[in-house]
Symmetry: D2
Subunit: 116 residues, 4 copies
């Protein structure tokens, strides 16, 4: 992952595109890519979304890749170690939402996904 | 990263939350988290976004972590190997946007970031 | 609608908040509000989303109102007459997607919703 | 506005596209359109976003029109009277954020824009 991050940074440097990469702009680009990924699914049923044909799945893979690449760029600019940040967030979530208390609850899941 | 992915999958299984995790729903959750990350920056100038105070940076780290965790969940559901998908996308980008031809161009960068 | 637009502009002027209202920032705020609206529906089935309880429907009304208010602010900043712009877009859509040719097609609808 | 709403509903009925229009799906489409609008501004500075050329402004007008049309569709499905909902929200905002107390404050504005 470090290697990939270095290579996407180098890609931007080689093209002199780093000047566009303020955290503000990168957060917009990340949201735009996440929305392009979502667009694939917007008129599908949940059930259809579980059974993509090969071409659609490939398109989803590319959009998800774009989201991930912007995550790596933004993490670099904010000096965040992404894997560590994700591990810490997981631990915080596990403490705040003990399995025994929230099992199967859509309400609790909604609360979880809304939590800061 | 594999380990982290397994642990976020286990987190959902332990809480019986996997039933909510259709690719359609996960793509929505990913977009919502990306938007929450962007919200941090919406009224900041680009320059302010480069100089976050510690509390805001910590909040950004947590939101970015959430985006990444949903990437891992969605990659699992779509059977996408995220690192490989990102590497392939990087190579495709490098071919389509040769450094020598696009250097420093905002127009080319916009075209790049819009490409499917 | 003109009256409402004037009143939301006055609201911002009274608070000296217009300085934050560059079109770039307003487009971010609009996307953030649209995402907050979507968050209400993210873990609901399509069927559940058609049968909201009163409290959830009220929350949706407020989020939709926020989206609309940012539309009015952005239209003002870009000097766009929103009703006219929407009527023109409708006419363009009707020409590009004749009812007889696209009836009932999810593929055509997806193409329509992706068109620039 | 009533007339425009009726005409966009008729547009969908004529094409047998209403079956795709669950509130959940419409909220996704609205977010996708808001993101397409934002994409226009993502690599522009705030200052550039205030001075669009004619072609870019026209593109923004069309994307904003799409956002507004989905607002009208969603308002119909949720049985929300959009103008009234927006007026009520304005009044609520005015009560919660008195001009004298919040003038010019980015912090207060951020709090305002985050409020449910």
């Amino acid at each position: 992952m470090k290697e990939l991050q270095e290579s996407v940074l180098q890609f931007a440097r080689d093209r002199d595109w780093e000047k566009f990469h303020s955290p503000k702009n990168l957060s917009m680009a990340l949201a735009v890519e996440a929305s392009e990924l979502m667009e694939i699914f917007q008129w599908l049923t949940e059930s259809q979304s579980r059974e993509l044909d090969a071409a659609t799945r490939q398109k989803a893979a590319e959009e998800l890749a774009d989201v991930f690449l912007y995550c790596l760029l933004l993490a670099d600019k904010l000096d965040i170690e992404l894997l560590n940040a994700a591990k810490s967030k997981m631990q915080k979530n596990a403490l705040n939402y003990p399995a025994d208390e929230v099992r199967g609850s859509a309400r609790k899941y909604h609360e979880y996904s809304k939590a800061p």
